[in-house]
């Protein structure tokens, strides 16, 4: 071949064509063959899924008082690839973050793209830090929105409200039981950012807005809660029991108006509390109820026609031999009617009524009053108590259970049981959630009162109620539960404390009083229970320890609820003195 001008031109053209062909081939490979791979790489580099955090719902009491809210805070993160001068950035940021400058500098120089520097930085501090960084013309630190759950009332109502874990999920109380409604759903948006990390707004992609959590309104009345907490707190300090429980509820609706326990904890700082302080004993602790349980046998025997208002039962003068054991009364009594058996709290009279009913019928009434089953309150961890069926009873059980032994109930069950008598014979489901509302206050879910069953007819309930009024009257076991101006009905309970090692603990008692007022038209039922109060054992009775606490709570609650007194008050203090003077002059 001759190396002519034409040949040279041909070679040059071919070479150029080959180069362009190679480039074209590469272009086709990048743009067509590997399109998906490279576009994904580009997207990963510039596009990100930004989470739009949902706001957790608030919790209110029945009157709209805020019980749990959210405090906005920021999580400070760094992008190591954006930090050009770690030392300078650390110098500016360390004082705001409350960190050591060297420690912060070490974190910033790690070069990672996502470094969490600090959680829960106050909003104001974050703003000030952002401005300081901007003024110093530095970059690399970013602020992610976050929130801290706060409970403005501290330990008040702590057991009912519960608290959140590190991931923001409720792990106790209403926070846990209403987690689904309160939590809401995080949203997201796809954004693109430039090389400095700033969002390119123009290329904002698909967006799903956050669905904020719903607000929860409780049945709790903070006015009553404050009264209950205050009185129980004083009792806890004065009498130093191992635990104390107080419940106030509306017997006509089953709404819990107040609920508290001692010892207690502050849900703002759950980490500081011991596990014993965190227990809501109103629903997770079971105790032998003692004589308060006598309302069950009295109602059952009356309803089954085994006794009537006029039936007289011989109480064996205080000692009744049955099943090889002697059952004793506190005082020796002869024959008494059902009314007096309740007023005097006769163990023998109650046992005889149970014997008249028979074990199966008596057990049926125990279950009808709701004992041995969970009440279904919207709080986590509730236990059903312990009620053995008749085939597991020994010979003594039929005489022991009517006086509140050989059975274990929760304080809430006891309150519900007394509500049956207060409201005319209906067992209601207890409620702590009044409604679930959206942010505008529109009700999304409302919880109307729920009647579980009719336990006894109104007539029977009224008779027992009259007898319970006698418990607080002259000759009753709970005269200290009286409230000036009101007819109070109630029942004391004094139960020996069950020892963990079996049997009963010597000299330790669980004392209680559960009552309601006004007896004619009950507005609230209140239970006060103290476990092992540090008083002399001859004074450690429900009527002497729990009843006065009930009286103080009841008086303040009646005033708070603006109840009109129905009785002529027995004046104390200056009024009593004035009346005494008048009597003397007359």
């Amino acid at each position: 071949m001759r190396w002519t001008a034409r040949t040279r031109t041909g070679f040059a053209c071919a070479a150029v064509a080959m180069v362009f062909t190679a480039y074209s081939a590469r272009l086709v490979e990048l743009q067509v063959a590997k399109h998906k791979e490279y576009s994904q790489m580009a997207a990963e580099k510039h596009t990100m899924r930004q989470v739009i955090h949902a706001r957790r719902g608030l919790i209110f009491d029945r009157n709209g008082e805020l019980l749990a809210s959210n405090l906005p805070v920021r999580t400070v993160v760094a992008d190591g690839s954006h930090v050009k001068d770690p030392a300078a950035l650390a110098r500016v940021a360390a004082p705001f973050l409350g960190m050591d400058e060297k420690e912060l500098c070490a974190k910033l120089t790690s070069g990672r793209k996502y470094i969490v520097i600090r959680h829960e930085l106050a909003e104001e501090t974050a703003l000030a830090l952002g401005k300081a960084i901007q003024d110093a013309n530095l970059r690399g630190l970013y602020f992610e929105p976050d929130a801290v759950r706060t409970y403005p009332n501290g330990q008040m109502l702590g057991h009912v409200l519960g608290f959140l874990n590190n991931e923001g999920a409720g792990i106790q109380g209403v926070e846990m039981s209403m987690e689904k409604s309160l939590r809401g759903q995080d949203g997201y948006r796809y954004i693109e950012h430039d090389r400095t990390g700033r969002e390119i707004m123009l290329y904002r992609g698909q967006e799903e807005p956050a669905v904020h959590g719903l607000n929860v309104r409780l049945t709790i009345d903070m006015g009553l809660q404050a009264i209950l907490e205050d009185e129980l707190d004083s009792a806890f300090k004065d009498l130093r029991p191992e635990m104390a429980v107080g419940i106030i509820m509306d017997p006509n609706t089953g709404e819990i108006l107040a609920m508290t326990n001692r010892p207690c904890f502050d849900p703002n700082h759950p980490g500081d509390a011991k596990s014993e302080q965190m227990k809501n004993r109103a629903i997770i602790d079971m105790v032998e109820p003692g004589s308060t349980f006598k309302i069950v046998v009295a109602s059952g025997a009356l309803n089954e026609g085994k006794v009537n208002e006029k039936t007289s039962i011989y109480c064996e003068n205080g000692a009744f031999a049955y099943g090889g054991r002697i059952l004793r009364d506190h005082h020796g009594y002869g024959s008494m009617g059902v009314h007096d058996i309740l007023v005097k709290s006769s163990n023998i009279g109650s046992a005889k009524m149970a014997l008249m009913m028979g074990d199966t019928k008596f057990y049926e009434y125990v279950k009808r009053f709701g004992f041995g089953d969970r009440t279904g309150i919207e709080l986590p961890g509730e236990i059903p108590g312990l009620v053995h069926p008749p085939h597991r009873w020994d010979k003594l059980t039929i005489t022991r259970m009517p006086m509140g032994q050989s059975v274990a109930v929760t304080p809430l069950q006891m309150t519900m049981g007394m509500s049956v008598i207060a409201n005319g014979g209906r067992l209601l489901a207890p409620q702590i959630i009044r409604s679930v509302e959206d942010s505008d206050g529109s009700v999304v879910v409302s919880k109307p009162p729920k009647v579980v069953r009719e336990v006894v007819p109104q007539k029977t309930a009224r008779f027992v109620s009259e007898a319970l009024t006698g418990v607080v009257g002259e000759g009753g076991t709970a005269q200290l539960a009286k409230i000036a101006g009101f007819t109070v009905a109630g029942k004391t309970g004094t139960a020996q404390k069950v020892s963990p090692s079996g049997g009963y603990a010597q000299g330790k008692y669980v004392v209680s009083f559960v009552g309601y007022l006004p007896q004619e038209d009950p507005r609230f039922v209140c239970l006060v229970m103290l476990d092992d109060a540090k008083v002399a054992s001859n004074l450690n009775y429900g009527g002497l320890v729990a009843a006065p606490i009930f009286s103080r709570i009841g008086e303040r609650a009646a005033r708070y609820l603006d109840l009109v007194p129905s009785l002529r008050a027995e004046p104390t203090g200056p009024l009593a003195l004035r009346e005494q003077k008048q009597e003397r002059t007359n």
């Binding site: 405090l71 906005p72 104001e124 403005p152 009332n153 005033r559 603006d562 008050a569």
Partner: protein, 122 residues
């Protein structure tokens, strides 16, 4: 100029030239307008971003203040303030109470009023 040379001259057609220039001008102006619009879009997007940020900040500050107000007006704080003597409770005089429920009579006859004066009993 001889005849052959005159034949080789390509005359400029003014109308074609103007048409080409107009097309070029139109393309140029369109491109510039496109750039201007694009810049405007970026500027507006940046303004929106800044505004969104400001709104988010204001909202956070508002929520922070609300949380503080709730904290300061909570029962616990009020009770603490009362205990410290910072604020005090004053009894409402009977003549300042407007009742919707039938009023109970005065304490003289031994009947308690529903919101009776605690001090009277001491």
């Amino acid at each position: 100029m001889n005849a052959n040379r005159r034949k080789q001259v390509n005359p400029v057609h003014l109308s074609s030239l103007i048409r080409c220039m107009l097309v070029a001008l139109f393309v140029g102006v369109s491109a510039l307008f496109f750039l201007f619009i694009k810049n405007q879009q970026f500027a507006l997007a940046e303004e929106i971003r800044q505004m969104e940020r400001k709104i988010a900040n204001v909202r956070s500050q508002n929520e922070t203040l609300l949380a503080h107000v709730t904290e300061l007006s909570s029962r616990r704080m009020l009770q603490q303030r009362i205990a410290e003597g910072f604020i005090s409770m004053k009894l409402i005089q009977d003549n300042a109470i407007a009742r919707l429920t039938p009023p109970a009579q005065a304490t003289a006859d031994g009947v308690l009023r529903t919101a009776f004066n605690e001090g009277v009993r001491q």
